[in-house]
Amino acid sequence: MELPTLTAPQQLWWLLAVLPLLFWLAQPPRPRRMHLTSHRAQWLLAQASLRRRPPRFRALRWLLLSMAAGAVAFAQAAPRSAGRSGPERLVVLLDGSASMAARRGGESAFARAVELVRRELESVPPHVEVEVVRLGAVCARWRGAAARELAEPGEPAGELPAPLPALAAAAADARTAVFVVTDGQDGTPAGTACATVGAAAANTALAVDNVDDRWPRPELGVAVTLHNFGPARKATVRASGALARATEATVELPANGVARVPLQLVRSAAGGEVLVRATATDDALPLDDQAALAVPPLPAPRIAVLGDDRGALFVQRAAQALADEVGGSVVEAKDGGEASFLLIEGGSAAVQPGSAAMAAFGVRAPDRPIEVWAAPTLVDWDHGDPLLAGLDFSELSVQHALRDALPDGKPLITAVDASGTTRPLAVLVQGPRAASLHFAFRLQDSTLPLLAAFPQLLRRALLRGHGDQRVRVLTPAPSLHEADLERLPPPSALPLPAFAEPGQDLAPWCLLVAALLLAARAGLR
């Protein structure tokens, strides 16, 4: 039998003051006057006739009063019975990884786990401090009433930050019990209360391997891989969403193997989200069966052309070829018209460099005099700039160009004059909203339109003017570890330990004992 525990034992110091005081008060009076008598019997009879008792120290009365005072002091010390030892805190580690989304009988393992946690927490005594930690792609923690209610447990996703046995071992201590609810994919901690809610099942996971983005052209190549965790079976991969037409492919999945499926898609001009979904029979985890891609809209540029009489033919042809390639159109350049890309050949134009997406060939500013640069000799071009990377300009020949007619910008192509001075033949001016490409010569005065790199150069200039528009894969690659549901253990449960029981408050009993002692003392003559 364990003795009660005193929560405030310092209150017992009162006894040191109270007990001597009670002893002193219990002493009979000590009169100073003394009288010798031979009639003591008569004194006693006289007192008895008056029903009086001589005042004297009554040890039993003092003992009862002292015990009552001791009981009150004991009550002040807040005694509590020993109670039951055990953990005073419960940490529930709720597996919120992607595998917990596996469904069986129309209900996910995570939903069963949440229900199990709620049910178990109902039986946990209210004095036990409860904390629920959901582990997964996003970890969340609830305490107290919120933990017991577990109203918004979230959805399972991602992987566990660490193996559950290690997390359970880290969370447990002498006063903390750990309850793990998982599907058992990462094993179950030994010696810890644990419930497994999963079951072995077949699953197929879809992963996007490669995206061949041909923007600004509508063609889009997507290669996906189907990871099969289960027996051999058929699967269908369907791409839908922001496409000109949905595409579907059927593939034979080998047992516990991999199947690669290339998809040739044509995107819609408006762009949007493309969803690639794999459908296989007896698939337990639909969460990893699809991938989403963010597809930017096609540029569909309106290309305007300005050119003098002789040069208009070149840029007109170039504009038309560019429009055909990217799905755009050639519009007339006029005041008040709207265009997304401008091609200018020769003459003078009051266009601010870098203010609009354009390519200007041999254009001078109106206030700048004409200074001819005869037969510039090509020196080199910027191989590192994305605009020119991989293009060959070695065959470029220029009959004459405009000297010092280019605006300030990044030199892309350089040449030397007769004096041996190196000057730029082409510069790129990057403005805050657009980039403009300026050449010091006209197309008609060079062999640039004849080069194989010319259409690519125009397309890159157009893309440069519209910024980076690439397809992005929105869905992260699925965890193959989470997707493998074949090795899940069957459901099991290891019950919660017996929690600590706080001792009973003994103060009221002490006060009751004190009252009884006082009553006994009052009845004792």
């Binding site: 000590r30 009169p31 009288h35 031979s38 009639h39 009879l45 006289a46 007192q47 006739s49």
Partner: protein, 294 residues
Amino acid sequence: VRRRALPAVPEPFPDAFRAMLEQLLRHGNRIVGGRTEVARARRRALAASGTFAGHRSYVPGDDVRRLDWHAFARTGGLFVKLLEEDERRATTVLLDTSPSMLAGGPPRLLASLRLAAILGGLALVHLDGVHVHAGGEGRGLQGHGAVGELLTRLREHVVRDEDPRTVVQSLLRAGAPGKVHWISDFAEPRRFEVALQLLRRSGRRVKGWLPVVDEDLAAPSAGWTRVVDPETGDELVLAVDRALADALAHQLQILVRQQQQVFAKAGFELRRLRLPVESFELRDWLEVGWSYRR
């Protein structure tokens, strides 16, 4: 039982008392009780035919008819003839010296000692002798000249607790003569009842003398008072108020009746008297009124 140190008794026989006692003893027939006793003794002497046993010196107050004129003619001195019958004209003074006699202020023992001195002195003067028994010891004294020794004997008393029955048995074994004058507080009458019956069966006559002190009449002053029994050392702490004082007075009256009943049952007399202990005037002491019998 824890016993307190008993209080000392004041000097019982100061010179003033001794002088007053001498006057009182010479007062002769003017003592009321003494005259009666002398007349009765004379009648007994006339009727008696005792055997000559010796002489003793004449003292004032002796019956002149018992003077031995022949001895006067031979010697020129006055002698009284002692007959066998006269030998029994003695008395016994039994003084209770138990601690309870120390009660009272002044203590009852002081008055008792002086009372014993007067009674013994009267016996020495008017009778043939006295047997004084005090403090567990007894001794016979004769003649007027033994008054000093009487006082010395009384003064050397030892305060000791004595059972009345034991005292009486001792008295009877010692052959104490004549009437027994028992001076005591008779605080517990039942203890004296057996002793008185014993004396009665042995043919003795007894007279009880009870010197009254203040505590026999009323309670001391009011308030918290510690009352101590000097015999046992037991204490009582009392809140003395009017009600308790009245109740005590009632109990003291009952005690007086019990004392009287005990003596009456044995056929003896008990005399309660208030002695002028603090006075040494002969007048005050003569007002007491003395009487004694053999």
